[in-house]
């Protein structure tokens, strides 16, 4: 009997042995790391002498936690993840066994009942059990609602996957109506529902859609044409100031100034385009970054025109195509004309539909352009500029049209932003905004409209939702302010997404040329950085 001794210890050891060994290593490493950080602490005593306090208990806790965590990960986490990967390729979803174990009918019914009961007794909850347990119960309610929704989505996953775009657009169109209806039902009054809907329609709906539109606009420049633009917010600023200045100085209507703002931004897009025609990659990024800062600094320092950092206020509201207005004092006020109760929610709902229309216009134009010569030239330019030229493509005009088109949509979004806020100042157009928009494009998967919309929802909706996490105060004490951790969580989420899906949420791109049948090109065929 021939015995071969493997030099690789891992092949001999069982998974449990391997996990124990790894846990031991992890404990040793964390002990070495933390013995000085945590185990010892220097301080001063009353007579200003240096004293050394030891915290062996805490050190032991950290070391044990590391060891246990490593053990669990190696023994259970890794095999589970490996198993997931095997099934992922076949279905593109969670492995059926895991998902069906998680989503079961009895659990669904329990969660549904819990959610309904907790919603029904919501108002008297605090009186019955006190403030702190009520907070936990509300948390439980939120969890059961999420679970119920997840179950429904899981059940209809095939249908949702097949009709994702249509369902998404329908949901966006119905969103304000649903919000008002649900809140009216909960408070048993239509006006109450309207007032309650303000936060949901404005803070979530409009805010997210502005970023969806901006990211779709930037997607033309970065995702399609491959020109890394770090100063996109400049065009947003140009659009916003174009509307703010022309609207306040000349009293022109939003509907005239919207195209004007777009044209103005497109003009600045071309102006930026000329000097950077020869640049690519990092060099282009630096120049566009500088361009964004130049625009912001001009806005701050050209006081005679822009009113400096004080900004411009009293920007006129959008009218309902000139037929009705949203000013309470106006005889054509929408509630007077339609005999409704006075509420500021009408304007917000109108703005919601306006930005939705603008965003959908951006998406529509992008989709159409991709199938036209100029859009194809953008994509080819992203791939290989030299090959483009040798195929007879004028790379100068191609780049300029990409900059102009992207900037135009930024300008539209800017004019909308000015109308919504009623006030603009250079503070809204800092580099962080450009970075967030770019992050949305990258997270969504460059070039994918659906992916970008999802990324905007997660990033902007997520940061807004973190404001709402009051129950965390009950967990961490009243001094805990969840808002302060927003950016930390935001950054962590980005790192996790990029590790989990290095090409963004939707990494595949839809081809535009076919022989007979349509097929999405999967990103799994190409390595990162190559495709």
């Amino acid at each position: 009997m021939a015995v071969t001794v493997s030099p690789e210890r891992d092949t001999v050891a069982t998974p449990m042995q391997r996990a124990l060994r790894e846990a031991l290593y992890a404990a040793a490493i964390s002990f070495g790391l933390f013995v000085l950080f945590i185990g010892l602490k220097t301080g001063q005593n009353i007579s200003n002498e240096l004293v050394l306090t030891t915290r062996w208990g805490l050190l032991a806790a950290v070391v044990i936690a590391t060891a246990v965590g490593r053990f669990l990960y190696v023994a259970y986490g890794q095999p589970f993840l490996a198993n997931q990967k095997i099934t992922d390729v076949a279905t593109g979803l969670l492995p059926a066994s895991v998902a069906s174990r998680f989503f079961q009918l009895p659990a669904f019914i329990v969660a549904l009942v819990a959610a309904v009961v907790l919603f029904a007794v919501n108002s008297s909850l605090v009186g019955w059990v006190g403030a702190e347990p009520a907070g936990y119960l509300q948390f439980l309610r939120a969890l059961s609602v999420i679970y119920v929704l997840a179950c429904v989505i899981y059940y209809f996953r095939g249908f949702i996957h097949a009709n994702f775009t249509k369902l998404g657009i329908a949901a966006l169109i119905l969103y304000p109506i649903l919000v008002v209806a649900i809140l009216s039902l909960m408070s048993w009054s239509f006006v109450g529902g309207l007032q309650g809907s303000l936060k949901w329609v404005d803070n979530f709906g409009i805010q997210i859609l502005i970023y969806v539109m901006l990211a779709w606009g930037l997607n033309i420049v970065v995702g399609l044409a491959g020109l890394l633009d770090l100063g996109y917010v400049a065009f947003y600023a140009v659009g916003a100031y174009a509307y703010a200045l022309l609207g306040t100085q000349y009293g022109l209507s939003f509907w005239i100034l919207l195209p004007a703002a777009g044209a103005m931004a497109a003009f600045w897009g071309v102006l930026l385009g000329f000097p950077v025609l020869r640049l690519r990659g990092d060099y282009l990024a630096i120049v566009t970054l500088a361009f964004g800062e130049i625009i912001r600094l001009v806005l701050i320092n050209w006081r005679e025109v822009t009113n400096g950092s004080a900004g411009i206020s009293g920007i006129p509201k959008v009218t309902f195509f000139g037929l009705m207005t949203f000013n309470v004092s106006d005889p054509n006020y929408v509630a007077k004309v339609l005999h409704l109760a006075t509420s500021s929610a009408y304007y917000k709902i109108f703005l919601y539909y306006l930005i939705l229309a603008l965003a959908l216009l951006t998406a529509f134009v992008t989709i159409r352009l991709r199938r036209m010569p100029v859009g194809r030239a953008w994509e080819a330019l992203r791939e290989d500029e030299i090959a483009c030229r040798s195929l007879g493509i004028n790379t100068t005009t191609t780049k300029l049209t990409a900059f102009a088109t992207g900037a135009m949509f930024g300008g539209f979004a800017g004019a909308f932003f000015a109308a919504r806020q009623g006030f603009v100042s250079p503070e809204s157009f800092v580099f962080l905004e450009s970075a967030i928009i770019l992050a949305i494009v990258v997270l969504g998967g460059m070039g994918s409209l659906v992916g970008i919309a999802v990324a905007a929802m997660v990033m902007i909706g997520g940061t807004e939702a973190l404001r709402e996490l009051d129950f965390l105060k009950q967990v961490f004490g009243p001094d805990f302010t969840p808002e302060l951790y927003r950016m930390l969580l935001f950054g962590m989420a980005m790192v996790i997404v990029m590790l989990w899906k290095p090409r963004g949420f939707v990494g595949s791109r839809e081809p535009t040329a076919f022989l007979k049948e349509r097929k999405a090109v999967s990103s799994s065929f190409t390595k990162e950085g190559h495709g």
């Binding site: 010569p373 194809r376 030239a377 994509e379 080819a380 992203r382 791939e383 290989d384 030299i386 090959a387 483009c388 030229r389 040798s390 195929l391 007879g392 493509i393 004028n394 790379t395 791109r509 081809p511 535009t512 040329a513 076919f514 022989l515 049948e517 097929k519 090109v521 065929f525 190409t526 190559h530 495709g531």
Partner: protein, 242 residues
């Protein structure tokens, strides 16, 4: 063949900064010919190819195509004269599918003969048809070269420039590609100007050939003459030293 001159390169000098890469090169390509330019690494073969396309631009001399001076034209205008190129390193679009790559090639022709030309490319390179929905970057080297040539053909060129089509490919694939070039020339009368290090294959394929050394054309003649020339044999065909 009393054919007309299609491409006429006269006294072309090209510089990279202050370094002269071409010292007054004269090359002519006549209608319906396959002309091969052979030479060692760094002889300036690819530089000449790129100079025809205006990047880098010739500092002296003239390049005439079908009677038009193209020396100072922008690259994309030169391409619009119906000169197509399969550039060095193939330069296909890696994230685009095979079909999209071919479509990009046809954009010069405004997609007028798109369906017809796609079929022609697939008859020439049946391998590409099996790969139509695949991304360019995932193709093998030989398939990428076929795609690069196919993409160039989609523009219905009058002159096809090929920069080292055999680079890094297995001998069998090289043979397939050379056969395809010969086929194109024979059936469609396509004029081809190719740059090669594979001197034997290129000269066997070519009607005429040029030998380039250190930025100068040192020899020229028909393919057969050059193949038989002792100097060429010593330098490029035997012994294996370049």
């Amino acid at each position: 063949m009393a054919a007309t001159t299609l491409l006429d390169i006269k006294g072309v000098q090209t510089y990279y900064g202050n370094i002269r890469a071409l010292n007054g090169v004269d090359v002519t390509v006549k209608q319906g010919e396959i002309v091969a330019l052979i030479g060692a690494n760094g002889a300036g073969k690819s530089t000449l190819m790129m100079t025809i396309f205006g990047a880098p631009r010739a500092r002296a001399g003239t390049i005439t195509f079908a009677g038009t001076d193209i020396t100072q034209m922008p690259t994309h205008e030169i391409a619009r004269m119906r000169i197509a190129q399969s550039p060095e390193g193939r330069r296909i679009f890696p994230r685009m599918t095979v079909m999209e790559n071919l479509q990009m090639g046809a954009s010069l022709d405004n997609l007028k003969h798109y369906d017809e030309d796609v079929e022609k490319v697939f008859t020439l390179f049946p391998r590409l048809k099996e790969r139509i929905t695949q991304r360019g970057g995932t193709l093998s080297g030989g398939e990428q070269q076929m795609l690069s040539i196919g993409r160039a053909l989609m523009a219905r060129p009058k002159l096809l420039l090929l920069d080292e089509p055999s680079l890094g490919l297995a001998p069998l694939i090289v043979k397939q590609i050379f056969d395809a070039i010969r086929e194109l020339n024979r059936t469609q009368g396509l004029t081809v100007f190719l740059v090669e290090q594979n001197a034997f294959g290129a000269l066997k394929l070519a009607t005429r050939g040029y030998v380039m050394v250190n930025g100068n054309v040192t020899m020229s003649g028909t393919g057969k003459e050059l193949l038989a020339n002792p100097e060429v044999r010593a330098a490029y065909l035997e012994g294996g030293h370049h």
